[in-house]
């Protein structure tokens, strides 16, 4: 059997070697300043506290960099790269252990909370443990070790080069008694270094993992890796730089305050972080409630056919899984589910006679149907916070090669990958859906239900003709073959590839 973890093992080994190299270079090239170890302990406590407090936020707000990043950079500016590496690794290990412990603790609570009337204190502890433990998953020992090694190597690969750059660009370690504070040498140049290096580190990390896990077809060896690198830069560098600039300002402020007033500087710096956390968590909650409200309403609006709800839910789930598989930005993943539920909302204005017509549609009726992506996009354009998904909906019936509808001037390159994901999920579900075969027979016009398993052509009560034809659903293998055949013409090849990988790894439930 093929080892599915192999690419990840290779990537981890690669990154760990790089991290070890970075540590060695730092060890021999950059001198320690005074006795940094008491400060190291203070920084470790601060970083661990922040990491545990920020749990869950980066999932939501697209903060793709760890919130502890600026603390490690600050440590670099104050103490030098080697102590900063020690700080980052120690605090990562401590906070991961705490998360792991909280995960098992909260599980323990869940098992016994049913039959016990818990006191308020216990409830609070439970909630806290659940929140902190939420990012940890139960996994086999080998995978857990791989994960920890990867994570630590990533931290070193970010902090180490950042510190080296800071040093070689003329940044003075602020703990150095001889260093007087200068804006350009202490802040200006090293600032550029911090941003550039850490962005490069993140891009490299992304490139390694995607190159190992998902090599580009037909491009082997170094050429394939280079192609991957190019993609990684396009996909991650730009969104990252903004965040990195903000975080490096925070880092330099923190370093400055710490060098001037010590631990008190931590307290000062942590207040806005606490306030921001409060703001973010409220914002995240409000927006989740909002998205839930809008998608539920929109889903109910499409309930004319009892099976639509199942279809929409499956498309939404599948689209979200595909977006995760393709490692799209958090922003995209977050709205994928809502987009799945909303993709056919434009059909609200198309009459049921046309939607359900068993015979061939005439041109006029086809034109009506073909309007639905544009109409849907129009409706969604009026919904607050969903502006970003308008194009996903508009193009979900466009083919990869540019055919399909609505007509555009482009060659298919204007179609966002999210639209391609929805198109694939939609097509797959339509192929495998057993639709009304699994449902009770129900009259389209008077709603009469026949429950004895018969499927009459005319309604026994009002005499209306049953409009839907019955069609045998495709099996999973047939549907997958169809996707594979359509890759490159109808479907986006990357999406199909991710789909196949996902099905092979996790399986898929039809009509769940």
């Amino acid at each position: 059997m093929q080892d599915k973890l192999r690419p990840y093992k290779i990537a981890t080994a690669f990154l760990c070697t790089a991290a070890a190299g970075i540590v060695l270079v730092t060890w021999y090239k950059v001198p320690l300043v005074g006795n940094p170890w008491p400060a190291v302990v203070q920084f470790v406590i601060l970083a661990t506290f922040t990491e545990l407090m920020a749990v869950g936020l980066n999932e939501y707000e697209g903060v793709s960099v760890s919130p502890t990043g600026p603390i490690f950079w600050a440590a670099t500016c104050v103490l030098g790269p080697l102590p900063a590496i020690v700080i980052s690794v120690t605090s990562a290990v401590v906070s991961m252990s705490v998360k792991c412990a909280c995960f098992y603790l909260s599980r323990g609570f869940e098992e016994r909370s049913d039959d016990h009337q818990e006191s308020r204190l216990v409830k609070t502890i439970h909630r806290l443990a659940r929140d902190i433990g939420a990012t940890w998953q139960s996994r086999p020992l080998g995978v857990a070790i791989l994960y920890v090694a990867w994570y630590l190597a990533c931290v070193v690969a970010d902090v180490g080069p950042a510190g080296l750059f800071y040093y070689y660009l003329g940044g003075r370690f602020l703990m150095d008694p001889g260093s007087d504070f200068r804006v350009v040498s202490n802040f200006g140049l090293p600032f550029v270094g911090l941003v550039a290096v850490s962005t490069a580190a993140h891009v490299a990390e992304y490139a390694i993992v995607t190159a190992a896990a998902d090599p580009i077809q037909g491009a082997h060896g170094l050429y394939g890796v280079l192609l991957r690198m190019r993609l990684a830069v396009i996909e991650t560098a730009l969104p990252l730089v903004k965040g990195q600039i903000f975080l490096s300002v925070v880092a330099l402020l923190l370093a400055y305050l710490y060098s001037q007033i010590g631990v008190l500087g931590f307290v000062l710096a942590i207040t806005p972080v606490l306030a921001l956390r409060d703001f973010f968590s409220q914002w995240v909650e409000e927006r989740a409630a909002y998205l839930n409200t809008i998608t539920t309403l929109a889903t109910y609006m499409q309930h004319y056919h009892p099976y639509t709800r199942g279809h929409l839910k499956r498309v939404a789930d599948l689209s979200e899984r595909l977006a995760r598989e393709l490692r799209l930005p958090v922003e995209s993943i977050r709205f994928m589910n809502a987009a799945g539920f909303l993709h056919d909302i434009g059909k609200i204005g198309v009459s049921e006679e046309i939607l359900d017509k068993p015979a061939q549609l005439n041109d006029e009726e086809w034109a009506k149907i073909k309007e639905h992506p544009v109409k849907g996009a129009e409706i969604i354009g009026h919904l607050e916070f969903l502006e970003g998904i308008v194009d996903w909906i508009k193009y979900h019936h466009k083919w990869y090669n540019g055919s399909g509808y609505p007509a555009t001037n482009g060659d298919g390159s204007e179609i966002p990958i999210e639209a391609a994901i929805i198109a694939t999920a939609d097509a797959f579900d339509a192929m495998t859906d057993d639709r009304e075969l699994s449902l009770e027979w129900k009259c389209d016009s008077c709603g009469l239900q026949v429950e004895d398993g018969r499927r009459p052509v005319f309604c026994p009560r009002c005499g209306a003709e049953k409009r839907r034809r019955y069609r045998e659903p495709k099996s999973l293998d047939e549907a997958i073959d169809e996707l594979r055949r359509g890759a490159g013409t109808q479907f986006h090849p990357r999406v199909v590839k991710a789909f196949l990988a996902m099905v092979e790894r996790d399986g898929i439930k039809l009509n769940a």
């Binding site: 010590g262 806005p272 914002w283 409000e286 839930n292 309403l297 004319y304 919904l383």
Partner: protein, 233 residues
């Protein structure tokens, strides 16, 4: 050992950080709720408008009814959260029509009894929809009963008098008035505002809560009177 200084730079930095903290607390307590409310109103209005595209006669109906209802409810002394609920309910009351076949909604000849049953299910459909959303669940009753009449001849439950929630009674008057003055497949031409007001007057005490109808007519009269008319009278 390192020496610490509380220099001007430190104090300035501290000031910036602390004011940032205060600002973000302010934003999350004050600005955010207001922002979310406008988002909800805007989006629910858009969804209601999308449902109305099914039924060519009702374009803009929900929005106009919401406006009328809020004005009327204010005059009846409703305020605060209750007023907000009425506004949302007005926007959402006909959402259930999304699941009523378009053929029935646009039919100009009289409906058969079966078709009537389907059409009359829309308050229940809307109420189900509203009940499924935690944020709107407390509107279920208002939405469910917006076609109940004062004398118990309405649908779906045939409630009468005070048993109908006040908000539903208000909605009923405003929605009927707006339907009368709009193009609908079931009447040959829209009524003029004066004729519609006459109909509401006729219905006070039978179809509509007399107090609500009276305040509504007062409101219409006050709106209609331009300064010149007031002078002439």
């Amino acid at each position: 050992m390192h020496e610490y200084h509380f220099s001007a730079g430190v104090i300035a930095t501290a000031g910036v950080l602390l004011s940032f903290a205060v600002l973000s607390v302010y934003v999350s307590r004050r600005y955010l709720p207001a922002r979310m409310k406008s988002a909800y109103l805007k989006s629910i209005t858009a969804l209601a408008a999308a449902v109305e595209t099914k039924d060519s006669g009702t374009i803009g109906h929900a929005k106009r009814v919401a406006q009328l209802t809020v004005d009327l409810a204010r005059r009846l002394g409703v305020e605060g959260r209750e007023l907000e609920r009425i506004e949302y309910a007005a926007l959402l009351m006909d959402m259930g029509k999304a699941n009523v076949p378009q053929r029935l909604l646009n039919k100009s000849e009289p409906l058969t009894p079966e078709e009537w049953e389907v059409l009359k299910s829309h308050p229940r459909l809307s109420a189900e929809m509203v009940a499924a959303v935690p944020f709107l669940a407390d509107l279920e009753d208002i939405v469910l009963h917006h076609h109940e009449y004062w004398d118990g001849t309405g649908y779906p439950d045939g409630l009468a008098g005070e048993a109908i929630p006040l908000a539903s009674r208000i909605l009923c008057v405003a929605a009927d008035y707006d339907a009368m003055i709009s193009e609908r497949p079931y009447h040959p031409r829209p009524l003029t505002p004066q004729e519609a007001a006459g109909e509401i007057r006729k219905g006070a005490g039978t179809k509509y809560d007399p107090r609500v109808a009276e305040v509504f007519l007062d409101m219409l009269a006050a709106d209609r009177q331009t300064p010149e008319q007031a002078l002439a009278a």
